[in-house]
């Protein structure tokens, strides 16, 4: 037998507090919420079916309004290598600065580090590896360059810079046998370009 939380009489009284029309309305709203919870991870990230994408369409306003467009693919399909952005800057007074984003020493507390850590992690999804065909790398520039321009703008504004060059670093992920043998590998370096304030560039 089902086990209600309260006695039958209490449950009946409370159910009486929510009459049939209220329960019907609540049921519709619950189903609507379940739809906006289930459809986004079904529709993406790839691979995803066209059907899921079509079904998601009418719910896009609600998904966006409640910030529910998650894929929930934590550490999937495989935990991959970590990434950083290495930058070299010329400041307004002509001196040079270098740094990393995220910076484990400066970015404190850890949650702030993690929010900045997500920048190169998400950027890496747009930047093809150096061994990718030149055509693909060229096409991808249109996707990642606007994001990198924003990152460069942030770094220049934050550090009082005049010009900054950036590299995306993919940190080598050693295998277990490499660790056992005390070996490692080289990080991958993917140049992201040199950036300066627009007014300086136009001079």
């Amino acid at each position: 037998m089902p086990q209600p939380l309260q006695s039958d009489s209490t449950a009946q009284t409370a159910r009486g507090n929510w009459p049939l029309p209220a329960r019907l309305l609540a049921s519709v709203l619950i189903l609507l919420y379940l739809a906006v919870v289930i459809l986004p991870p079904l529709a993406g990230p790839p691979p995803a079916s066209e059907l899921a994408g079509v079904m998601l369409q009418p719910f896009r306003p609600l998904v966006g309004s409640l910030a529910l467009s998650h894929g929930y693919r934590f550490f999937a399909p495989n935990p991959g290598p970590g990434h950083s952005i290495r930058w070299t800057m010329t400041t307004a007074d002509g001196s040079r600065k270098t740094g990393l984003t995220p910076d484990a020493k400066a970015d404190w507390p850890r949650l702030l580090y993690h929010r900045r850590f997500m920048i190169p992690e998400k950027l890496a999804a747009f930047v093809p590896l150096p061994e990718a065909p030149a055509e693909i790398r060229q096409e991808a520039v249109r996707d990642w360059q606007p994001l990198v321009e924003d990152i460069a703008t942030r770094l220049l504004a934050r550090h009082g810079g005049r010009e900054v060059s950036l590299d995306l670093i993919e940190h080598y992920l050693p295998d277990t046998f490499e660790v056992r043998e005390g070996r490692g590998g080289d990080d991958l370096v993917m140049p992201l370009g040199r950036y300066r304030w627009r007014e300086e560039a136009s001079r």
Binding site: V63, A76, G80
Partner: protein, 324 residues
């Protein structure tokens, strides 16, 4: 004659089947429950949101300003504009951005202490949505978990217990079980099952999860690592067991968390997995937020009496409990 009788029996059977579904749905969503657990979830979620809001505020210009890590007019590249609204899109100055981030922080504090709780919950939700929709480049699983908790807290009677609202204005009122408390807890439970299902299903694509080496990928990633577990390189079978155990636990969670027989085990493993991620990978906030969401499966009255395998933990009752 026989055919007519058979037809009638069949129709009755279908009606009974449909009525069972309706009754099950009603019991699952609309059986009233104590608001105590929801109040505890409010305090814990509010505390995490307060911390998150404080950290957003530490670099408000960098996350939401005109020279942010991602410019406002580039946000569409990572989310679905115009639906992913944010109040930061209309903030023109550094002062207004700081003000809005401070409003989010204050709403989170009020939610935690339970003062003007319904209003605080709605503003806290709006502040959360505004932050994650404005700065998608800086969000991760912690934010997903907070979102999972905040909407149900705004719907349910989260301030009915353990709140300043109750202390100041409703001290004499008896605490009665509420249907809205059940709806809120159920939304968290079901949403959490969706999260684990897709997270587990996504891992089934990965060879390293099948090979039992995925955990090593997380351990060896120096950008994440806060605890040196590289000794696992000398214990591949242990790595295999931990990886496969995590995969099986996550993928089976949506099914095994409901029967009384397995619920305690599944929740105990959730504590190990999420505290492990929190300690070893420096994502304690994510781990804690997921554990808070898991707490929705505790008894709503938080009474341990009768929570043994025989009587079953009934977080609010469900027809699934009945069959377990």
């Amino acid at each position: 004659m026989t055919a007519t009788t058979d037809k009638r029996i069949s129709a009755t059977g279908e009606l009974t089947w449909a009525a069972t579904w309706v009754d099950g749905w009603n019991r699952f969503w609309f059986t009233p429950s104590e608001p105590l657990l929801l109040a505890v979830l409010r305090i814990l979620t509010g505390s995490l949101l307060t911390w998150s809001s404080l950290v957003w505020l530490l670099d408000a210009e960098g996350f939401f300003g005109s020279t942010a890590w991602q410019a406002a007019d580039n946000v569409w590249r990572m989310n679905d504009q115009p639906w992913h609204w944010s109040w930061y899109f209309s903030a023109g100055s550094a002062g207004s951005i700081t003000l809005l981030a401070t409003v989010s922080l204050l709403a989170a504090v009020l939610l935690t202490v339970g003062l003007a709780t319904p209003l605080a919950a709605v503003i806290a939700l709006a502040g959360y949505v505004s932050a994650v929709n404005r700065a998608p480049l800086n969000t991760f699983g912690f934010d997903d978990a907070l979102g999972l908790l905040l909407l149900p807290l705004a719907i349910g009677p989260a301030g009915a217990r353990l709140s300043l609202d109750r202390l100041l204005w409703r001290r004499a009122e008896p605490v009665v079980p509420r249907v809205s408390a059940t709806v809120a807890l159920r939304l968290i439970q079901v949403h959490l099952c969706v999260v684990y299902f897709f997270s587990g299903a996504g891992k089934l694509f990965g060879a390293s999860w099948w090979e039992g080496t995925a955990l090593w990928g997380a351990v060896a990633n120096t950008q994440y690592r806060t605890l040196d577990l590289t000794f696992l390189a000398w214990h591949p079978l242990l790595t295999n067991a931990l990886t496969l155990g995590t995969l099986f636990w996550e993928f089976s969670y949506p099914a095994l968390v409901w029967p009384r027989l397995t619920r305690r085990l599944v929740l105990a493993l959730a504590v190990l997995v999420h505290l492990g991620i929190g300690l070893a990978m420096g994502m304690m906030e994510f781990g804690l937020a997921m554990l808070v969401a898991n707490m929705a499966f505790l008894p709503p009255s938080l009474s341990l009496k009768g929570s043994g395998p025989e009587s079953g933990i009934s977080p609010p009752s469900s027809s699934i409990d009945a069959h377990s």
